[in-house]
Symmetry: C2
């Protein structure tokens, strides 16, 4: 039996995911919870704060999940595989929240915006360190680390766009596809065809 605050958060996640933050009204969220709009303000100080809490919790849990999945792994290729797998899994299992965290940054106040972006930067740093390490060890082809990290993270978000939890493919199968593609893509190609390093 959940408390009303959680009910509100869940309703907001559903609506923000389905219609977008600006297209969702506070009364709509309240109606979904079976309460009046004013009652909602007993639990949250503002509409923006609902959005912020969703994003903050999501980013924290995403980062915790990645760290726990990397824990104890030392081999750089294994770490990269685990990172991709973790990222994809989380995005498929928490489809709505991650979609909101990726696309509704513009609804945040400047302060909250900075807070979320700094969390995202920290998350990306983990990926960039793995890629850099792999390049320096010669396991991966020499690449522009930042560009590739954005590319990989964006690529792994693709699944969350079309994924249906009751569809034909289980989460791990999809994660395996992305994992294989990314790892293959990072490998050293035929000489002369490798991407140029950053200038």
């Amino acid at each position: 039996m959940p408390h009303m605050k959680d009910t509100i958060t869940d309703a907001a996640v559903d609506l923000f995911y389905q219609k977008g933050y600006f297209a969702t009204s506070v009364s709509e969220i309240a109606r979904q919870c079976g309460i009046q709009k004013a009652s909602l303000y007993y639990h949250y100080p503002s509409k923006e704060n609902i959005l912020f809490q969703i994003q903050k919790v999501t980013m924290d849990e995403l980062t915790d999940y990645l760290r726990s999945n990397l824990d104890g792994l030392t081999d750089v290729e294994t770490r990269m595989r685990a990172a991709v797998h973790s990222h994809v899994r989380f995005h498929l299992n928490r489809q709505k929240e991650t979609f909101i965290a990726n696309s509704e940054l513009r609804g945040l106040t400047p302060d909250h915006y900075r807070e979320i972006v700094s969390r995202r930067d920290a998350y990306e740093q983990i990926f960039q360190n793995i890629i850099r390490e792999g390049c320096e060890a010669g396991v991966f082809a020499p690449v522009d680390v930042k560009i590739l990290s954005y590319a990989i993270l964006t690529l792994c978000n693709a699944g969350a766009i079309w994924f249906k939890p009751k569809g034909r493919m289980p989460v791990d199968a999809i994660a395996a596809i992305y994992e294989a593609f990314v790892l293959q893509g990072l490998k050293t190609g035929r000489p002369g065809l490798a991407p140029m390093p950053a200038g």
Copy 2:
């Protein structure tokens, strides 16, 4: 010397890109053009129609650009390279419009939504055909064509998120990075490590 209709479209592109469709008001677009809100309705029947026209033109030009870049190419790997290059180039050169076309579908009426989605489907079909052909020819590792096509298209959109036209990297250099990564990723990996085909 552009006509007012084009000025309005350009202003809308800027604002929709910067603040999002729902967060942009009609008066704001008008102000940016130096006219009154009511005057805008002489050129466009509704706010939604501005969005729709932007998306329609963008999708049409994106598709035309791809077709023209593939014209005359027969080798499947060459076609794939050209397709990725075309996609990335267009997204970097038309950053704002493509961002809007990717993220503001929810602002469209149901009819217009269907029209845009069907254009996008047709565009994706071109990529899927190339991938399928490459897999059947044994040039690419066997993959789930749909999943991989979404992954590749999403991946190539990544550049448009952070790209600054006056930044250090020219468009073609970025396109080359994505091109190399995608082509390497599609190649047959070591036996036993290839991604599994669709179930």
